[in-house]
Symmetry: C2
Subunit: 373 residues, 2 copies
């Protein structure tokens, strides 16, 4: 393998694929980035067996391809070396079986490389049924749900986001069993057979880091055990979580005894201040109480003091409520809403709290109350 | 105590004094900020027994002083509460002996406070001999020396910066016994008796965080066991380290067998790249070699690879040298220099390396070489 390439072009692609390098990898070759130089261009691939990312640089964007070939370079080092090299154009040459000479201007690195045959062969093939959707909608639906996934590995399915696709609708659901976030968006493709899969949330977070928002569509392909995303010159593949995601549709009531509308940002600020005097030890519990068209949010930290906040609301039903919940969960849920006003729905102090955007039925946030007596 | 005050004014002063609150304080009252409301204005004081910071808000900047008095509020909470309160004007009122009511718009905090008599009485008096100097020069001399202090508490004096003042010169010296940084600046006051003190470096770093650079002078007062800085409406006092700072004047040779000049930024970049293949385990050792008017910097990490960099230099003596040193120490030293060109001075591969700015004798950086055989 022997090529000359512009530093900035190579660095951008290396940074994309480096997201798949895990620092805790026990298989040495997986700490590497595979370079495959072919006639058509340079393929860079990294994989931690959970996600695989491949970036392609077309030959027209390469200064010269002297000799095709493959090699694996240690990911942590190669990214920093390319970032810090002087000059605009870098030469990379395999000079011995697994020795690589990288030079630019007066700087020369001789690196020990790894046999490319040791690198796992990952199937990155397409399906015949691509699904297309808007990049910004995709990013938003993940931000509206991802925070509600569980971080506990004891229930692995709950560490993922459930994707259900029917006709031209994508519904994402996440829950850690104390709260639930659900959002529905339109997609550009009408699928023939419904899809119901669970994708590890942390893999989707890595995908968001390299997904640029622009007018081009995001393409993806669903298989029985993997999902492949395609955008720009990048392939991003994640494994799927095995098992059947719990049916959450019955958790969200249809009828509510107590309904009210509050200003979203003001409610968020009020809860943020009340949370100053709530403690992790008590699950950051704060209390919400309504009295006619006033909402009173309060919190009490015995050694520190007490806070009480009052907010004007519009009640849609007559009943009042007193209910306690985690300020953190409520702030996460409110932060995911995009409308100026939020609808809060209750049935009793021991039943789930539901939050919806006013005038938009597509996002549902559910929070279980905390019993304080 | 009872006052109304603009949120922004109070918050700025609270942030200044909060730098003196130590989170690991075992004396509860020292986690607090003392409020002293007097006719002339509000004094805020915090102290961890090592540094004491007092900020003063004059009565003209207070909306109303209803009742004078003192109270201590828990520092961590009061700063966050004031930061997040709605509205522009905040009311703070002691409503019971050690209970404080803070309110603004529809938000109310009732905080448990601490008896102000428990707060340590710190002497913040002036001396009759103020010393004046330029704020920017003071900031620069600290940045040029502070990195060379020791972080090991086993030799406490080396965790401080030695301030020597004679006539109208301030000389700062820092060393961790492997390297030394020295810088001299002019000050605005000519002192009658020479001053030789050691100030804990981490206290000076806290001072830099709140010292705004402007045209006003920094004033300070030196006592046998403390130094008091005055600027804006702030008093910043640090204890001094006890003992006699080692005499470092003989460590820096007068004569050099090998002298050369290199471009500062290029040398820094070259060493930064070479350090990519040096390891903490080997003290980040890299090698410098001269061959006529070329400098070759190299480093070798057996498992990873080897890097070699070449740089044009101007030799002022005939001899060449091969010498090894810590890339981290060299980068710290080069980063402190302000001239485009650096003079490197050597006597042998086992004698100290000296760096000076070209055309300015006021900064001296010394690094001990590392024997690699």
């Amino acid at each position: 393998m022997n090529l000359k390439i512009k530093k900035d072009i190579l660095l951008e692609s290396l940074l994309h694929v480096s997201k798949a390098i895990s620092s805790k990898n026990i298989i040495p070759v997986l700490s590497g980035i595979k370079f495959d130089l072919k006639k058509e261009g340079l393929y860079l691939t990294a994989s931690d067996n959970d996600i695989t990312i491949q970036s392609f640089i077309a030959s027209k964007d390469i200064d010269s391809i002297e000799k095709e070939g493959s090699i694996v370079l240690q990911g942590r080092y190669i990214v920093e070396i390319i970032r810090k090299l002087p000059g605009n154009v870098i030469s990379i040459e395999v000079i011995d079986e697994y020795k690589v000479w990288i030079h630019s201007k007066t700087s020369e690195f001789n690196l020990n490389a790894i046999n490319p045959n040791e690198f796992p062969q990952t199937n990155l093939n397409d399906s015949k049924n691509p699904i297309y959707m808007d990049k910004t909608s995709f990013k938003n639906i993940l931000l509206q749900t991802s925070f509600a996934t569980s971080t506990q590995e004891s229930r692995p399915l709950l560490t993922g986001i459930n994707f259900k696709i029917e006709e031209n609708k994508l519904e994402c659901t996440a829950t850690d069993s104390y709260r639930l976030a659900k959002s529905i968006i339109d997609i550009d493709t009408t699928v023939e057979n419904p899809i119901n899969i669970v994708i590890p949330c942390r893999n989707l977070i890595e995908l968001l880091k390299i997904l640029k928002e622009d007018n081009k569509k995001l393409e993806f392909h669903v298989f029985s055990n993997r999902i492949l995303f395609k955008f720009d010159n990048i392939l991003f593949q994640s494994r799927l979580l095995n098992g059947t995601y719990p049916d959450t549709s019955k958790l969200i009531p249809d009828e509510f005894l107590i309904k009210m509308v509050a200003p979203t940002q003001e409610l968020l600020d009020v809860i943020d201040r009340a949370s100053l005097l709530s403690s992790d030890r008590d699950k950051n519990t704060i209390k919400l109480e309504t009295k006619n068209n006033k909402m009173i949010i309060s919190s009490n930290a015995p050694e520190i003091g007490r806070v009480e906040e009052t907010l004007d609301i519009v009640k849609e039903t007559e009943n009042d409520i007193i209910i306690s919940f985690s300020s953190k969960y409520m702030m996460d849920a409110l932060g995911s809403l995009t409308t100026n006003k939020v609808e809060l729905l209750f049935n009793s102090e021991i039943k789930p709290i539901i939050l919806k955007e006013v005038g938009n039925d597509k996002i549902t946030q559910l929070i279980l109350p905390i019993r304080t007596y």
